[in-house]
């Protein structure tokens, strides 16, 4: 082949922009020694810092850890915990574990759909609320459980859920 491929030293690759949060990502990349086995850990750090994984971030992490972009993308899409889209201002996670399911989690999702018109995994058009489901929060004693912006609420009723959503959504929408 006539073309030469220029290989950049992955340890010297630069973050996509000046955002200070990249320093956290760089710290993890250094800690895992630029090794491919640190891919999941690094993606965790990116998601913790930025809230989601975009193509730019995946490209940077892939280069720094010497893995093909396809593998970084493959891992990011394989695991449910990683998201490629930014979340809304508020998040509402409905637990769909067995205990929550038989104690009324489907009714809660139906109420959300009725009030906001969105299904799990979606964000309201105004970017205010994202609705997600969890496999099991492990708070089965509190079924059905919902996490409102990191705070776990137990024995949730559709009425309580509606009130919480109303607080997050501006009245005109």
């Amino acid at each position: 082949m006539g073309t030469t491929i220029t290989r950049t030293d992955p340890t010297k690759s630069q973050p996509p922009n000046q955002d200070k949060r990249w320093r956290l990502v760089d710290a993890t990349i250094r800690r895992v020694g630029h090794q491919s086995r640190g891919l999941i850990e690094t993606l965790h750090t990116v998601q913790e810092a930025f809230g989601y994984l975009d193509v730019q971030a995946l490209r940077y992490v892939a280069t720094a850890l010497r893995v093909p972009l396809s593998r970084a993308y493959g891992v990011a899409t394989f695991y449910h915990f990683f998201t490629l889209k930014p979340a809304g201002e508020h998040t509402c996670v409905v637990c769909m574990g067995t205990a929550c399911y038989i104690k009324g989690a489907p009714q809660l999702l139906a109420a959300i759909h009725h009030n906001l018109g969105i299904a799990p995994g979606e964000t309201t058009p105004n970017g205010k609320v994202s609705v997600l489901t969890a496999r099991c929060l492990g708070s089965c004693g509190l079924a059905p459980a919902v996490v409102y912006d990191q705070n776990v609420a137990g024995k949730v009723t559709t009425q309580e859920l509606r009130e919480q959503l109303a607080k997050w959504m501006p009245h005109d929408s």
């Binding site: 850990e41 695991y79 990683f82 708070s139």
Partner: protein, 544 residues
């Protein structure tokens, strides 16, 4: 850390306990934390400080006390347990230390829920502060490790575990001692110990509770395992969905490193061991050991055919011991008290006690540890307090998506690995979901099949395509569009998946369908032939 230094910490802890006349324990595990137990603890701290009683009365954050449904829970050193405590109750509780218990908050402890339990794994749970290593050491923690390192050879340690009869608590029940000796015999330049804390079964929270309540016990179990099999590195693969467990594990590892219980030349011996955390990222299949290894290596969590088993070729191609959290947590008491002591508990083939997470339509939801061989009736009706609202028991689901639903006729069956398997379910990791007549068993089967469908990793065709097809069929049944022929197709797919899937996920995915078809055929019949859902679940607004 030498044995003498450890002894010194124990004595200091006992002396410190002697100085403090009273102790108030506040449950700081996830269940109670989500009912604001932090504010209860803050209020108690403030109340004690306000009365300048800090020297006399200690307010301690502890792990899970078990009765999660009645949280936040607070206990005192005189054995009083308070339920549904709020921050406003702090004054009365502190008053109560002298004047006697606050009657309106008291939770009776002379009931089967507390009396019938046999606590081995949970012995420290709700008693020690999970964020202080000294507290764990004060409760004879790390004593088993020192004993193993100084008084026993690695073969003797394995022998003790073999004699205990302990079987893997992750669900499959493989003899732990046998696994250990296989790894010990395997040759490799580096061996690894992995703790499987990827508790993915919906409706199970035993491991989370153990990690949150007593993280050092799991570390100690791993250290002993590392010594026994000749490993020097360990990983704990923990779900990212358990932030509190992760935080406490990180603290525990740091503290153990500081005291020299993790690191090089532990207790002045040649044994070195370090432990690192790896966070899962929400993939149920990673509970399967080869998929878990793949995930620890930073790849997609897909399983591979066995053999070679991880004991021969595991993490990075080296011999690897993988055990579940609860299995490791059983190790320190086994080494401390001897394998024979453990083997006296339980049944002939299933030794010891097992932690179960009781949830669903049951009065006392929470965490219990019971000896093997206890009957389901005792667990559900005596310990669990039965079904609330005067409803009728319908089924108990064990083993999560890999298990089955057992009807009332099995209530008097002893709980052990073999009996559960014979009845068409599995022991599983310990989730126990009780259902009453308001649950539709076809809908439950559909729920688990949907779970397996989304969690299938996609590597092998029977599981990837089969779970989808079965979910479609179950959708048609719950929508009451199915024909009798489709029931036959469902049965055919159950067999196919069981026999041809690559890993446990696909092989056991039909279990909920098979068990509900076997024990509740009339419900399937009602959906297909009469177009009715007897429980009134299918077709209601929420399930449309």
């Amino acid at each position: 850390m030498t044995p003498e230094e450890l002894e010194q910490i124990v004595e200091e802890q006992i002396a410190a306990r002697g100085e403090v006349a009273r102790t108030v324990n506040v449950c700081m595990a996830a269940g109670c934390m989500s009912c604001q137990s932090q504010s209860v603890k803050d209020a108690l701290d403030k109340e004690v400080a306000g009365r300048s009683m800090e020297k006399k009365c200690q307010v301690k954050g502890v792990g899970c006390m078990g009765l999660c449904a009645e949280g936040p829970l607070v206990s005192t050193d005189s054995g009083v347990l308070y339920q549904h405590v709020t921050a406003a109750d702090a004054v009365e509780i502190v008053d109560g230390l002298e004047k006697g218990p606050v009657e309106r908050l008291v939770c009776p402890t002379n009931v089967p829920f507390f009396q019938r339990q046999k606590k081995i794994v949970l012995e420290n749970s709700g008693i020690v502060d999970p964020e202080r290593i000294e507290d764990y050491i004060g409760a004879s923690g790390y004593g088993a490790l020192i004993y193993a390192l100084t008084d026993k050879t690695s073969m003797q340690v394995i022998d003790e575990v073999v004699r205990s009869g302990l079987r893997g608590r992750g669900g499959a029940g493989y003899p732990t001692g046998l696994k250990w000796s296989t790894v010990a015999k395997a040759s490799g330049k580096q061996k690894y110990v992995i703790c499987n804390a990827d508790e993915g079964d919906p409706g199970a929270f035993m491991d989370r509770s153990v990690l949150e309540s007593d993280p050092h016990r799991v570390l100690e179990g791993m250290l002993i395992a590392g010594y026994a099999v000749g490993a020097s590195e360990g990983y704990i693969y923990v779900r990212a969905e358990y932030p509190l467990a992760i935080k406490r594990l990180r603290t525990a590892i740091r503290q153990a490193e500081r005291l020299g219980l993790l690191g090089t030349n532990i207790c002045g011996t040649r044994f070195s061991f370090r432990v690192d955390l790896r966070l899962g990222a929400g993939a149920f299949v990673c509970g399967e050991e080869t998929a878990l290894i793949s995930s620890v290596e930073g790849k997609r969590g897909t399983p591979r055919p066995r053999p070679p088993y991880p004991a021969q070729e595991g993490l990075f191609g080296e011999p690897t011991l993988i055990n579940n959290v609860e299995t490791f947590a059983n190790i320190p008491p086994i080494i401390r008290n001897g394998g024979d002591w453990y083997a006296k508990i339980g049944t002939e083939k299933s030794k010891g006690a097992k932690v179960f997470a009781l949830a669903g339509r049951i009065r006392n939801t929470g965490l219990v540890e019971v000896p093997m061989g206890i009957t389901l009736r005792e667990i559900v009706f005596e310990i669990g307090g039965g079904i609330p609202e005067g409803r009728k028991f319908k089924a108990v689901q064990t083993g999560g998506p890999s298990g089955g639903c057992l009807p009332a006729e099995f209530l008097d069956m002893p709980v052990d690995y073999e009996s559960l398997a014979r009845a068409g379910s599995i022991m599983g990791s310990g989730g126990m979901i009780v259902m009453d007549e308001s649950s539709c068993m076809v809908d439950v089967a559909r729920y688990f099949m949907e779970f397996c469908m989304t969690e299938s990793c996609g590597k092998c065709v029977p599981c990837r395509v089969g779970t989808y097809q079965m979910k479609q069929l179950l959708d048609r049944i719950t929508n009451r569009d199915a024909t009798a022929k489709e029931i036959g197709q469902l049965e055919f797919l159950c067999e196919l998946l069981k026999n041809t899937s690559l890993c446990g996920l696909g092989q056991s995915a039909p279990n909920p369908v098979v068990s509900t078809m076997r024990y509740f055929p009339e419900e399937y019949k009602a959906h297909v032939e009469d177009g009715k859902c007897p429980a009134g679940v299918c077709g209601s607004q929420a399930n449309e």
